[in-house]
């Protein structure tokens, strides 16, 4: 049994998973997620790992490769590090083998990643400087509107006359939203407007990596926002981008999954190299 751990240290949350990879068979054993909320991320990462290992009924010594991704290059207990897009691509293919592109929308940025069936990154695009299309922004607005994270999606779906958010900057967009509230625009219409403007930016990313005619898997925290998913599909239909975007209940783990799988792969390779060395 080869156990590999994947840890995705994000800006919003820490995700840890344990995989068992034996004879090419990939098996997901356990998982743990923890929101960061102004705590020490490195400590949280370690805790998440320990909890996941415990759930797997194993000990740290059983884990052959601890792979990190996200903002975890300097974690001292990791065996190796893979960069986010590498891992989201692989994790995406694991969750949705049909996917040929992965759209990762996290707390601060969005990334569109073009992949092939083996999870190889063929191209990508990231949102630049301005951050109005990110989880953090939606979270702030939700707080301002007095609704919870879970309510965002369902409310957005109820919109009948969405109001566009024009600003490219999240700060100015916040003001836009404040103005909307004072103009008595309904909450669903505001949320839908935000989703639409985010969707427009994300579709732009997808087009920039030249995704056509494919299934796109949404990963990262925002993948669970059904309002955004709906807005994305509408935007793609509107722009005649012939893709089908899907979400997966475990989307938020995609990075950690990819890290674990690549970790197992490297572990295998390194062991073989070692054996070769011993044999000679």
């Amino acid at each position: 049994m080869t156990l590999a751990a994947g840890i995705d240290l994000g800006t919003g949350a820490v995700k840890a998973v344990i995989f068992d990879v034996t004879d090419g068979k990939i098996n997901w054993v356990s998982r743990h997620i923890e929101k960061i909320r102004q705590r020490d991320p490195h400590k949280l990462a370690r805790e998440a790992l320990d909890l996941a290992i415990k759930d797997a009924g194993a000990e740290i010594g059983d884990v052959g490769y601890i792979a990190t991704t996200g903002e975890a290059e300097s974690l001292d207990f990791s065996t190796g590090h893979f960069y986010s897009m590498t891992t989201h691509a692989r994790g995406g293919i694991y969750l949705e083998p049909e996917a040929r592109a992965v759209l990762d929308i996290g707390a601060l940025h969005g990334r569109a990643i073009l992949v092939d069936e083996r999870g190889k990154v063929l191209g990508y695009r990231m949102t630049s400087q301005c951050a109005s299309g990110s989880g953090q922004f939606v979270e702030n607005i939700a707080r301002y509107l007095g609704i919870t994270w879970e309510e965002i999606g369902p409310l957005s779906l109820q919109a009948d006359d969405p109001e566009k958010v024009s600003s490219i900057c999240a700060v100015l967009a916040e003001t836009d939203v404040i103005n909307m509230v004072s103009r008595q625009i309904s909450t669903p219409n505001i949320l839908k407007g935000i989703h639409m403007s985010m969707a427009a930016r994300l579709v732009k990313l997808l087009r920039a990596v030249k995704v056509t005619d494919a299934t796109v898997l949404l990963t990262g925290g925002m993948a669970s926002d059904i309002g955004l998913v709906a807005a994305l599909n509408e935007a793609m239909a509107g722009q005649k981008v012939d893709v089908n975007s899907k979400s997966h209940p475990d989307s938020i783990y995609a990075g950690a999954i990819g890290a674990a799988i690549w970790g197992a792969y490297r572990h295998d390779k390194l062991t073989r190299l070692d054996e070769l060395a011993l044999a000679s």
Partner: protein, 441 residues
């Protein structure tokens, strides 16, 4: 947003500006687009080139049509189509940071380059890269060449870094005309170059240029009969584009001059989209190109407050005729073409641009300077704050700074611009009340 009232093209705005000259220009433009889009069936060759330093008279010598991508971008800006085109270009991999004229053009090309008359533009037979006053032109035509794969001829016009046209510069341009451009044009068109034909066109140009200068200078009257920025962009149309050197242009400027003479006699202010301007409250000099995507909204912020632009630098990008009296000269045809290219506004160094603006402020008795800084255009914008600062120091007149873009609607923030303009006008007003700089009656 009310779309019905917007100006679509200079010509289509005739319900607003109904003068004969406007009708004439409309017909000229329509006719030109008609010719361009039917070039293939008419058996005419097309050269694409730029407004600053355009060699219209020379192009005409080879029976070729002149297509100007910048003008197409403006047209698309005014019809609110440029936004989508720019985004298309960005999706194709062009950076958010670069000049939006280029992106509007490239986005338009991807859509099949539809002319304002709804028909597709022909693929040009020649890209005439006259590189005057803007470095981006060079890249722009490299990009077009990459797409079209057609022949390209480059005319490098040196920048007048010391504020003067040196013999070396003039010789260099003339030599390129002789050894690169004319042979290429001959080859592409199959027409032999005839210098006398060029002389005749230049003679027509000079005539029209005289009248244009008269029109621009009419703004020295109080009240000014014209708006030299918002109206000005219409007045410069023919001379900046495919008409310089034609009898049509000569006729247009005569008509225009006549109309303005009447306005002066009647002590009338400029025409605006909402009719004649009421009281003239502020006289401004404007530096920088206008915003095309919200042209009318932008203009309204001025005329609503009684602000008239009496001189502008944008109306000099396609040739500076008033400041030091340049005219196309039939007696020195190639040299005068070279000097024309070298003397366009954005090819002049910053100190000269400052001198020009200073002189405008004085000659036109303006209350102050307004800088419209364009995100896209480094050629204009890099250094405008220095221009503003120097002008304030030298003249003591107040200046203001706003930021928009030519054809990217995302960079026109009406509330922001209005806020600054209002503050500026209130500031001028407050100063006047305080008895400081009383306006000349």
């Amino acid at each position: 947003m009310s779309n019905q009232t917007q100006i679509t093209t200079p010509a289509a705005s005739q319900e607003v500006i109904k003068d004969a000259s406007m009708l004439k220009q409309k017909a000229m433009i329509a006719d030109n687009y008609d010719k361009l889009t039917r070039a293939k069936e008419l058996g005419l060759k097309v050269a694409s080139t730029y407004v600053p330093g355009n060699l219209n008279e020379l192009i005409m010598c080879f029976d070729m049509l002149n297509n100007l991508p910048e003008i197409n971008a403006i047209q698309n800006g005014m019809r609110k189509k440029s936004g989508g085109m720019i985004m298309d270009a960005e999706k194709m991999g062009h950076s958010e940071d670069v000049c939006t004229y280029v992106k509007a053009d490239i986005g338009n090309m991807a859509k099949g380059s539809i002319a304002p008359n709804g028909k597709p533009m022909p693929v040009p037979d020649l890209l005439l890269l006259s590189y005057t006053g803007c470095f981006t032109f060079l890249k722009w035509f490299e990009l077009l060449r990459d797409q079209y794969g057609c022949e390209t001829a480059m005319l490098h016009v040196p920048y007048t870094g010391d504020g003067i046209i040196t013999d070396n510069m003039r010789d260099y341009v003339v030599k390129q005309l002789k050894e690169v451009l004319i042979p290429t044009l001959e080859r592409v068109s199959g027409v032999k170059f005839d210098i006398d034909r060029l002389r005749e066109y230049l003679r027509q140009s000079a005539k029209a240029e005289d009248d244009l200068v008269w029109v621009l200078k009419s703004a020295k009257n109080t009240p000014s009969p014209i708006d030299a920025y918002f109206g000005g962009v219409f007045y410069i149309g023919p001379i900046f584009t495919a008409f310089r050197g034609t009898p049509d242009a000569v006729e247009y400027y005569q008509l225009l001059r006549g109309e303005i003479e009447q306005r002066i006699a009647a002590r009338m202010g400029p025409v605006t989209p909402d009719g004649d301007l009421g009281e003239e409250k502020y006289r401004l000099v404007v530096e920088g190109p206008p915003n095309w995507t919200s042209f009318r909204e932008f203009w309204k912020m001025f005329y609503e407050e009684g602000a008239v632009v009496v001189a502008s630098t944008y109306t000099k990008v396609g040739g500076v005729y008033d400041y030091d009296g340049f005219r196309h000269d039939p007696d020195n045809p190639l040299e005068s073409l070279a000097e024309y290219c070298l003397g366009c506004y954005t090819n002049r160094n910053l100190p000269t641009r400052v001198d020009m603006i200073e002189q405008y402020l004085e000659d036109y008795q303006a209350d102050g300077l307004l800088v419209n800084s364009i995100k896209s255009c480094n050629s204009f914008s890099a250094g405008q704050l220095m221009i503003m600062r120097t002008i304030e120091e030298r003249t003591g007149k107040p200046a203001a700074f706003i930021e928009t873009d030519l054809v990217d609607p995302r960079y026109f923030s009406p509330a922001n611009v209005k806020n600054r303009l209002e503050s500026y006008f209130q500031m001028i007003e407050q100063k006047r009340r305080a008895g400081g700089s009383a306006r000349a009656a």
